[in-house]
Subunit: 293 residues, 2 copies
Amino acid sequence: MRIFYRALRKMASALTEVSSNKVFGGLQKVFSHESKELGCKMRFAIFLPAQSEEKKLPIIYWLSGLECTELNCVQKSGIQRYAAEHDVIIVCPDTSPRGLNLPGEKDSWDFGEGAGFYVNATEKPWSDNYRMYSYVTSELINVINSNFPVIEGKQSIMGHSMGGHGALICALKNPGLYKSVSAFAPICNPSKAPWGIKALTGYLGPHETGSWAQWDATELAKSYNGAPIELFIDQGSDDKFLDQLLPNNLVAACKEAHVPAILKMREGYDHSYFYIATFIGEHVSYHAKHLNE
Amino acid sequence: MRIFYRALRKMASALTEVSSNKVFGGLQKVFSHESKELGCKMRFAIFLPAQSEEKKLPIIYWLSGLECTELNCVQKSGIQRYAAEHDVIIVCPDTSPRGLNLPGEKDSWDFGEGAGFYVNATEKPWSDNYRMYSYVTSELINVINSNFPVIEGKQSIMGHSMGGHGALICALKNPGLYKSVSAFAPICNPSKAPWGIKALTGYLGPHETGSWAQWDATELAKSYNGAPIELFIDQGSDDKFLDQLLPNNLVAACKEAHVPAILKMREGYDHSYFYIATFIGEHVSYHAKHLNE
């Protein structure tokens, strides 16, 4: 299998290894590659459990929140311990295109670089590059499948805050693509909250265009009619951004549309990686169960 | 016990809470206080397991390495999970005095700010403030004992790299003060390695003064004759700084002096927090066993 893996890597699109560290018996690596979808060089992190040297494994994609890179989950969540226990590969992409120097791209912490919102932008100057949705749901999956020992199709997705919403829309817009989806403190209804309104206006144009509903998890849940999927929403009760996140809007929409949803409220927890670190083991177990069914 | 704890806090020296996050059922807090020993405002991090609301607990001090602050262990090691399992408090001080603006203090990454080396300096301009040894072994212990629900005297110490050496010298210079000591990739023999020679020369003057032996774990082990203590040394085999760390020098000195030492070599691991995260649970268990004897 080792030989097979190396042969695969030679055939595949060019990846450059940025770093490699042994952790919990596996390897935490970072690679860069030229993204066609985003028109720039991108980085992603991948954790390969020791078992990946012997056989193909299922995979969980992690989408990070505002201001994050491919490293936040890798350095702060402790996810490798659980991924090693369950023999699952973890892939963490970056949160936006990088290094484009588009006008205004670095003016805000909650829009532009580090804040791609996992949509495909239609407004100039973003529409040529800010295509994180297609990058995550298509190009990156192909890159991973061609370069690493994954069981194709055995994939799940989760994320945090902006990335929690990203995970939800990736799953809701692609019935069957992911075996399971979960989200920590997701922005559940961006059309109704300041961060979301700013991002959707900037990337998609004003609400009146009618395009927002295709990029809002609460709206997508209302009209969902694909293969059954459960939405696992995790939320800290002391999260100071609850007015940005609006989990109850999503839960109400799911109830109305008969989409199964779990909302776990965590008493006293906030929006930080300390909260994520506490419960990420439970999420990895949840996904592993679905991936191994 | 809650009332007792609050009353204690009112009586004690003034601490300012910088942050508080719930993690693994407990609270990860950061405080600042005016240090008399260092002549500046210092920060430390403290993890209080849920059980600390009900009863006094033992404590482990963690000393970080070059360039670190009180946060590296807190954010990257995952230690809270193990501390919560074993009902032990974790305290992480900063790695040097801060904000003094002494001449040359910020010129190097491996000397001055972020690189206090846990010694008491005798050379100007460092000797008035660079007293991390007395801060860690005396002032900080008093601050913690007066402000938090700890079992006085039930304390252990560990650290990484520069802080691993710090833990070793704090234990070797104070027989009986710590119930156990362990170190990840410690600088074991600073008198013989570039980082150590630079630091000892700067803080203590040239080797010829004869003072270095009192601040070098390998030299201290040779002359140790205090209460029996075991040195638990942890080392990654792929650590690129092995020529700075010299673990074999310390192990040889311990053997000669009949000081018990364990050296665990970890195949393929490097100097990073990924390595620490993998094995810190084993260290917390080791200390908990000694603390609960």
